[in-house]
């Protein structure tokens, strides 16, 4: 009796925390949308203020409120992260499926592509792709989406190779079903759990890499509010002791990424029936 009660309450706590995380991230995205104008307001009477009650994150050298700027920037990062994670998971899904269905040659080519993408250091490939797309918003989206699919594709490909040996797929083939029919009706549903888990776990990576590439100057242009831009600007003021410019935006970024991690893990655990009694 007590066992089930405990499991139930743990599930409830997990759900409550999950709801909190979703609401928090949603609020950041929503506030960022509203505060777009406010983030650009400069006021030289309040420049370089250390964190206080009216400005919890302080203000910068142009008197912009850092809290508002950080939230807008983070909102941008989260939206780009969601977009790019979905694109790259989509690529991974198609690649994984195609590798298994379209014959040996396609499989070899896709295997080579995966090795190629994983072989160039991540940051360097991001720099190259973003450079190829002329930087800016498009450069970031292309760069992050085209560099994150490889490990998930490898995973899905392995899964498909196993499925290919399963009885029902072989029977379907004997019954004269086409390759694509088998791929989409018999294999894709089995890949879905792996796919969803992979997709959710891609979010934090995508957000982090968007921030990193923007920080280096290959991403969003400097006038756009983005956490990467805020942090790279703050680099110039670190030495003069304006620690709040770097500390709080970074902390909020870490918090957002951690919450995404948490949402991902919890959602996977709630979906997975195997761990229902843990």
């Amino acid at each position: 009796m007590t066992g089930t009660k405990k499991t139930g309450s743990r599930r409830l706590t997990m759900l409550v925390l999950l709801a909190f995380a979703v609401v928090f991230l949603g609020a950041v995205v929503w506030l960022g949308e509203i505060w777009q104008e406010e983030a650009l307001v400069t006021d030289f009477t309040r420049k370089n203020l250390a964190p206080c009650q009216t400005h919890p994150f302080g203000t910068d050298w142009m008197g912009r409120d850092m809290f508002v700027r950080t939230v807008t920037g983070l909102s941008m990062s989260i939206r780009i992260g969601l977009l790019t994670a979905c694109i790259s998971a989509g690529i991974a899904f198609l690649m994984g499926l195609a590798a298994a269905v379209m014959g040996r040659l396609a499989d070899g080519i896709i295997g080579m592509l995966i090795d190629l993408v994983l072989g160039i250091p991540h940051m360097l490939l991001l720099i190259l792709i973003s450079f190829a797309c002329g930087r800016g918003f498009f450069g970031v989206v292309a760069g992050v989406s085209l560099t994150h699919w490889a490990s998930l594709a490898r995973l899905l490909r392995g899964e498909v190779l196993q499925l290919k040996e399963s009885q029902y797929v072989k029977i379907a083939e004997r019954l004269g079903k086409g390759r694509f029919y088998v791929a989409f009706w018999h294999m894709a549903p089995n890949l879905l759990p792996q796919f969803v888990t992979g997709l959710i776990l891609l979010f934090p990576h995508a957000i982090l890499h968007e921030a990193s590439i923007t920080f280096l100057g290959f991403g969003l242009s400097p006038e756009q509010p983005a956490v990467g831009n805020i942090l790279s600007e703050s680099m110039r003021y670190l030495v003069t002791g304006k620690w709040w410019l770097a500390l709080f935006p970074g902390l909020l970024l870490v918090a957002a990424v951690l919450l995404f991690h948490y949402i991902g893990q919890t959602a996977c655990r709630l979906i997975d029936p195997g761990s229902a009694h843990e």
Partner: protein
Amino acid sequence: MKQERQNRLRHGGIWFGGQILRAAALIVLVSVLAFFLVSVSPIDPLQTNVGQAALGAMSREQIEKLEAYWGVDTPPTERYLSWAFDFLRGDMGVSLLYRRPVAEILAEKLGNSVWLLLSAWVCSGLFGFFLGMLAGHRRGGSADRFVTGLSLVVASTPSFWIAMVLLLTFAVQLKWFPIGLGVPIGAASEAVSLADRLYHAALPAASLSIAGISSIALHTREKMIEVMESEYILFARARGESEVCLILRHGFRNILLPAVTLQFASVSEIIGGSVLVEQVFSYPGLGQAAVTAGLGGDVPLLLGITVLTAAVVFSGNLAANLLYHVIDPRIRKGGTE
């Protein structure tokens, strides 16, 4: 017996040769891909490096000369082929920004970066391994929760921000370490001692090491949990072996190999992280050169760096495969069949 041994050696040789060929083919592909990406870029090298104002003041001939220098008017395939043939002959071209041979710049930057990368690689491996063993020894215990939490936080933190926080604390506030650069400002290059270099590399290396521990710690933890739940541990416990003895004799040996392999395969992560960390500390290494080359459209240098780092990453992966192949008989059998 002898026959079998020879057979195995021959198979191993064929396998190794295949791996080398594969790595070489991948490096060629990397160079093609990198070149393709650089040449489709709409970013005009003249605009970025000379500037609109200066271009407007120049005569037609001057602009044409500059265009020829930056290779604007030559078709990409021709440029790639000439670059590739020169590369095969050992000539990596001349950097457009630095106006020095790429090989020379790479040697210099790699010389600065190699200690940074190596120390971060070793430190993150050792610490991560130790933490993972500690965590996996007792699943769900306080050490486990601490290490798992720490790894999660580190994995969620961009490495450049770790570097910035270290810079703020230890260089700006406490003034224990220099704020940036690889050597003291204003010192002649002969006067710079090894101690100076180490002193300047300490904070960047620490940031990189911290950023690298999470995956190895989590991986080692998983393996350790697996080992601790095994029957041979149960049997060893029943024989009355002490916990320390259990860990050292049975745990350590079984999880060492996967951990070393993972560390070899994670070379790519550390190089990627070094790009960011070197930027924060203005450390004159390979990563910073990559950023400069990328922002300035310096194609030969960017290509040189990409090919070099890809070669390092592939050697890391090859070492990982080789380790498994040589030490683990199950994989060897599977590989040659």
